[in-house]
């Protein structure tokens, strides 16, 4: 009888644990990263970019891209199926306006095993770029990009199946200026 009562007492706690585990898993699989901790840097920044486009706005906006126009069709193709694009960027007049601790909140989220760091570029002169992908099977379900520079921090978070090749090729097209970054040479055929 005692063992039965003990078992009955354990049931609610077990249920709570299961619910918490499920919630934690769901959170772990969510490709949306929180960037609100960076807002404290806004007063120090000389230029701030804050873009928040959720699924509803994305669907609404996609109607404004014409399928007949080649450039717009390309953009439409890229954003088709995306559930959100969030960008936060701060540009400072001088170096040392932010510390590693400011970015740690972002990095800690990206240390989640659901995220895979696919690119990590570090340069003292030009800064570093970290690209993370969240995959659901073979399909990309989210992208996170953290670009740091002595005078700049940029966080890009794209939710949904993003085509990296098409997104990379977008620079220099459709009024998007080329930012002086060379594009990769096409592969040579053997």
């Amino acid at each position: 009888m005692k063992s039965l009562s003990q078992t009955l007492w354990k049931l609610p706690s077990l249920t709570v644990l299961i619910i918490l585990g499920a919630a934690a898993t769901a959170t772990a699989q969510n490709p949306r990263i929180q960037t609100s901790q960076l807002d404290a840097l806004a007063p120090k920044a000389s230029e701030t970019v804050d873009v928040n486009i959720d699924e509803r706005l994305m669907q609404l906006t996609s109607k404004f891209f014409s399928s007949k126009d080649n450039d717009e069709a390309k953009v439409k193709e890229i954003i088709n199926g995306l559930k959100g694009i969030y960008v936060k960027s701060f540009e400072f007049e001088n170096e040392g306006q932010y510390t590693e601790a400011d970015i740690e909140g972002i990095r800690s989220q990206l240390r989640n095993p659901a995220w895979n760091k696919v690119v990590n570029v570090s340069s003292k002169k030009e800064g570093g770029v970290e690209v993370y992908l969240m995959q659901n099977g073979n399909q990309i379900s989210g992208l996170a990009l953290l670009a740091t520079d002595p005078k700049e921090i940029t966080v890009v978070n794209i939710i949904g199946p993003v085509d990296l090749d098409k997104l990379t090729q977008l620079e220099g097209q459709f009024g998007i200026p080329e930012l002086g970054i060379e594009r990769s040479k096409p592969k040579r055929k053997n």
Partner: protein, 210 residues
């Protein structure tokens, strides 16, 4: 079984024993005239109960009520639908079309009406008749709308929401392009850097053999 003779047809000729046997078996089921026996306890004129008389009347009343309700709804629907088209044309609220590039794609109601006129009415007389009819209808409906401010307010609100959504989407389009530009630039930068670290053609100083 013998089926050559006329026995089966008119009972003449040689009878077949099998058929005779079947006749005997089935003969018991033959129609036998009997006088109608009415049970003594059967009430030919029963006294009707309260509910038994009320139910049919209630059913008739309910049917009539439903028919009247349906008619009322139909008339109400007709009445509410009529003023809508001219109201949109008359509503003074319109987006700042000059400043809004996205609104260029959406024709104004007046433009739409002009297009329809040109497409539908070939002759000038027909067009004139239609215009005069439409003018009288719109003026009477405008008067109706003036009398019913609820409809007007609802339509104005709808229009305002549509315009707001349009502006929101236009602003979001610019933001989206900015976001894509930044993402693309950073990805290109990362791609360039990784290619510099791992060049595709690492050996340049080899000589051809042969």
């Amino acid at each position: 079984m013998n089926i050559d003779g006329d026995y089966l047809w008119d009972k003449t000729g040689e009878p077949d024993p099998e058929i005779q046997e079947l006749e005997e078996i089935l003969g018991t089921l033959r129609y036998q005239p009997r006088p109608l026996k009415i049970p003594a306890d059967l009430q030919t004129n029963p006294t009707r109960g309260f509910f038994s008389t009320l139910v049919p009347r209630l059913a008739i009343a309910a049917t009539l009520a439903m028919a009247l309700l349906g008619l009322g709804l139909w008339l109400g629907l007709q009445h509410s639908q009529q003023p809508r088209a001219p109201v949109v044309a008359k509503t003074p609220i319109a987006p700042a079309s000059g400043k809004n590039p996205g609104s260029r794609e959406l024709p104004t109601p007046d433009q739409g009406a002009k297009d329809t006129d040109v497409a539908t009415f070939g002759g000038p007389e027909q067009k004139q008749k239609h215009l005069s009819r439409r003018h009288s209808a719109s003026s009477s409906l405008a008067a109706n709308i003036n009398r019913s401010p609820h409809i007007r307010e609802g339509l104005i609100r709808q229009r305002q929401v549509a315009v707001q959504e349009l502006r929101e989407a236009e602003a979001a389009k610019d933001e989206l392009m900015l976001a894509l530009r930044m993402a693309s630039a950073k990805l290109n930068f990362a791609q360039k850097k990784t290619q510099n670290i791992n060049p595709r053609e690492p050996v340049h100083n080899q000589h051809k053999i042969g």
